[in-house]
């Protein structure tokens, strides 16, 4: 765990509250649109044009480009909508768990097994 955002009450957690909901409104709206295949296709064809349509900030566009999940959360992404972006990239919840924690997928899964069995 690297980031300890002092504005966040729980380390490693980005509470999706009013501040975040406001900051991430356009980003989340874009990701919400990914419920539709036609929107996913349109994004895939020209990601920058699609981001512009929803008024994403530069920081948000950068995080989209870099598939930077933590960056998306920091820029106001809600995990439920960011997950739809991940889905578009064919990444599932465990894939993005690994990405966010900086582990390999196997390491991340092993950590979950440990915690699930009560070993950790």
């Amino acid at each position: 765990m690297t980031a300890n955002d002092p504005t966040q009450p729980v380390p490693g957690t980005y509470l999706f509250d009013g501040n975040m909901a406001k900051k991430g409104y356009g980003l989340n709206k874009m990701c919400f649109s990914f419920n539709e295949q036609s929107a996913r296709d349109e994004f895939n064809k020209d990601p920058d044009a699609y981001c512009a349509k929803f008024g994403l900030t530069e920081a948000q566009i950068k995080a989209i480009h870099e598939r930077d999940i933590i960056g998306l959360l920091q820029q106001g992404g809600s995990i439920y909508y960011v997950a739809k972006f991940a889905g578009l990239l064919k990444l599932n919840m465990q894939d993005i768990g690994a990405i966010q924690t900086g582990m390999s997928l196997e390491e991340f899964k092993a950590m979950l097994v440990k915690r699930g069995s009560g070993e950790e």
Partner: protein, 282 residues
Amino acid sequence: MANIIGAVTTSHIPAIANAMANKAEETPYWKPFFDGYPPVRKWLNDKKPDVIVLFYNDHGLEFFIDKKPTFAIGVADEYHNSDEGWGIATIPPVTGESELSWHIANSLVEDGFDMTICQEMKVDHGLTVPLSLMWPGNEYGHVKVIPVCINCEQHPMPQPKRCYALGQAIGKAIESFDSDMTVAIFGTGGLSHQLDGEGAGTLNRKFDLECMDKLVESPEELTTYSNLDLVKIGGAQTVELNMWIAMRGVLRGKVTELHRNYHAPISNTGAGLLLLEHEMPN
């Protein structure tokens, strides 16, 4: 009066739908999870409840943060699932029960619950996965479902004590419905998990097992947690426990645990299963 015959809690994660689609139920990874379900399926097939009141949370299919309700209730005759963007199969329409739904909505608003009342509402995996789990092959068309959707996405979220009170008010409403229909309550989601942030993968087996005990014996203790407490103890999405707490609010009198399973991890979550009956006080 309609008769509340019991309650079920279950996980609702999309990975379960994928496991069923891929026929992976008997693989070492999934077997300890799916092995918990046959007794609950049998109970449902024996008791044949007419209606399921199902507490779930929408994960961004129907509701967006343009207009996010704290509590929403469906009052339609039919609900549709739809593409959620990550490739789980869309399931057939879900049958509603509009008359009892409106009765509950009337009673809730009268009792000071500020519901968003939905005649049209897409239902996501939070509602559909439990149905697919309980009636394999999606053979749930005969059961009427009343969706009750609790905000677990955007803070401020309703606190556990408010969700418990919602359940109690729904119980009162069902009991005042002039019909001999039978009703079962589903609490879905949870238990401990965190999907987002450097804290992704948080999971708390000890807490989950305690929750399951308390849910049966001393649910009031769970209502003393705040949502922030739940986030700290079990991870950011542990707030989904609110759907279990709401379910428990519906039950009255002595509650008996007929069946339990707990397995972790399933994907990123602690997966709990409970089958409860209650003895209504006279």
